[in-house]
Symmetry: C2
DNA sequence: TTGAAAGCGATACCAC
DNA sequence: GTGGTATCGCTTTCAA
């Protein structure tokens, strides 16, 4: 299809070379920081380049070097994921690190269902140097891509730890333990939990933290106080209503994320009870909702920006030929009114 | 710097040509849907291509055609912007449309302060076919880029309407009018408003809607009931406390966005008053916070996904050589408990 | 230390 | 209809 041609003006090596009185090869050397070029000529090239407003043509470079200077950032296309403020911040973290290294993130919002989805297809195409996955609904797809030679970094711990996929994650277990301990040591006798999706490692780890807290305090876990949610406000609300009906003596609830914590609070209020007076609530994430809600949500803060940055750094590291270890970022208890 | 070379396997036209017994030119024709190729040979090429798992090399194509098949999506790098769930959804809208047209969004999270910021620099470099701006803190920068030949679409109405920059926006004025009218016609006598940033068109338009509602109902606007916020929870909370102190008879407040509406509610409660019993509150946006807050926030829903999609469509349209008109998307009143 | 020149892979013009 | 080939802009041997 015929289209308007790009009208942005471009300078090429040829022009710089002419102006500086050297060859294109030399221009290339200078502009790529090759030492062994005569200082004066190098200066002449620099001058000419800046005078002509030179900007490198990435397509040409990519064609020549085989590296695109682009990293795909893959995120699942589900409304709940995209409207989660979490991901915007992760993206920012990734972006900052990549941009600082002159690499551009290509966003792929994707169902990524099967291996031959357009995304998987594109990623195999070699038009990016690697891919950072923001959610891992389809871990096998990620594995397959990695096996085909795609450089991959995953945010969130993979289920299959034997695989040598590089990942970064928050210390979910420690965070959850922190949250639960806070409840248990601040007067709560019956602390329930609404878990996240237990098929995800984050869900499992946060549940383990709940157990660990009891254990370390010499307390028994009452399995009946564990309800399995799916990270959503609604699931938590429903489950909490049910929990409170069966166990009216519950006085503390750890929700595995903030959205669910809000659901918990909604349910508590609906039962005519107060937070934190009757039921203390702790969440996980510390997103804006935690701050703007009334009462303020006591929660576990993750370093979300750091998570994105760590993922990007791991990616760069792999591309340099290194083999970075998984990174697990620490968490922090943020005290507000809800517990 | 030495790096590992990309290990993804690539097929080229040469191999397809060999396998299909035709020339590379013919391969190109077939793969680009040129009709005038012998049907059998075309089929042979298709077969060979799929058998060899061919994927087009975008860098090569870009170098040859001058078009990259990439669109930059520029978003301001401020925590408040990035943690706003709004933008994730806009991104999704953009992404869906672009991907459907085999164009990839390159994310640029950017301060974009001055013209020579790395972003502006990159955008001028011609490595994208155009740029969609998600916030317009620096409108002049956008103009300058447009003048240099960059294809630009802006989400949000530009201040300078004389400029012929293509934009898409929500009908802020109508939405605000809807919100204010709802308050005025459901029993409120003294309806205040917390505006957004008045230096932004969205801020102005939503304030105008507030005026328009009064006007159309034959009511006077009391200028003292207008407080100028900055879109943030905190600003709204502070301003509301002040408003309520001076005008205890306020019984309705229209906040120019949801974050501020939550701030308003926080302030109302802090004053020991109830929503909606004493003060009804209406927001604008309908983001998750509106749904998960207690009481649920009555608000104006914008078609956020549609906004992103419209922007992407406008971009595609321009790239086809057309001159799309600005698009203004309708809003909808969502009734919940707060008003 | 420098330049000439051969690619990288796809496109498109020009002949046949 | 089809093939040959120059071309896009940069990188990178290879010689000098």
């Amino acid at each position: 299809m015929p289209v308007t041609s790009p009208s942005i003006f471009r300078t090429t090596y040829a022009e710089i070379a002419a102006k500086a009185g050297v060859s294109r090869a030399t221009v290339s050397r200078v502009l790529n920081g090759d030492d062994r070029v005569n200082t004066e000529r190098a200066q002449a090239v620099m001058d000419a380049a800046s005078k002509l407003g030179y900007r490198t043509n990435r397509a040409a470079r990519a064609l020549s070097t085989g590296r695109t200077g682009q990293i795909a950032v893959v995120i699942d296309d589900s409304p709940s994921v995209l409207s989660d403020p979490f991901w915007g911040v992760v993206l920012a973290g990734i972006s900052r690190v990549l941009m600082a290294n002159d690499i551009h993130p290509v966003l792929m919002v994707s169902p990524l269902e099967s291996e031959d989805s357009p995304i998987a297809n594109y990623l195999e195409g070699g038009d990016v140097d690697g891919a950072i996955f923001l959610t891992v609904h389809k871990e096998d797809v990620v594995h397959q891509l990695a096996q085909k030679g795609l450089t991959v970094v995953v945010i969130g711990t993979p289920t299959d730890l034997k695989s040598d996929i590089v990942y970064v994650d928050t210390d979910n277990r420690a965070g959850a333990e922190l949250a639960t301990k806070h409840l248990l040591t601040s007067g709560c006798k019956e602390v329930a939990t609404i878990t996240g999706d237990i098929s995800a490692v984050a869900g499992i780890d946060r549940l383990e933290g709940y157990h660990a807290a009891h254990l370390s305090l010499g307390l028994e876990v009452n399995e009946e106080l564990i309800a399995h949610g799916d990270w959503s406000f609604e699931s938590a609300k429903t489950l909490t209503l049910r929990l409170l009906a069966r166990h009216p003596d519950i006085d503390g609830i750890f929700a595995a994320n903030d959205a669910m914590a809000l659901g918990v609070m909604a349910a508590v209020y609906e039962r005519g009870r107060l937070v934190p007076d009757h039921v203390a609530v702790v969440g996980f994430d510390d997103n804006i909702m935690a701050q703007t809600h009334r009462p303020g949500l006591t929660t576990i803060r993750q370093d979300i920006l750091g998570l994105g940055a760590a993922a990007a750094e791991s990616m760069l590291s792999i591309l340099q030929g290194e083999t970075p270890a998984p990174k697990i970022l620490p968490t922090e208890l943020i005290l507000r009114e809800s517990a």
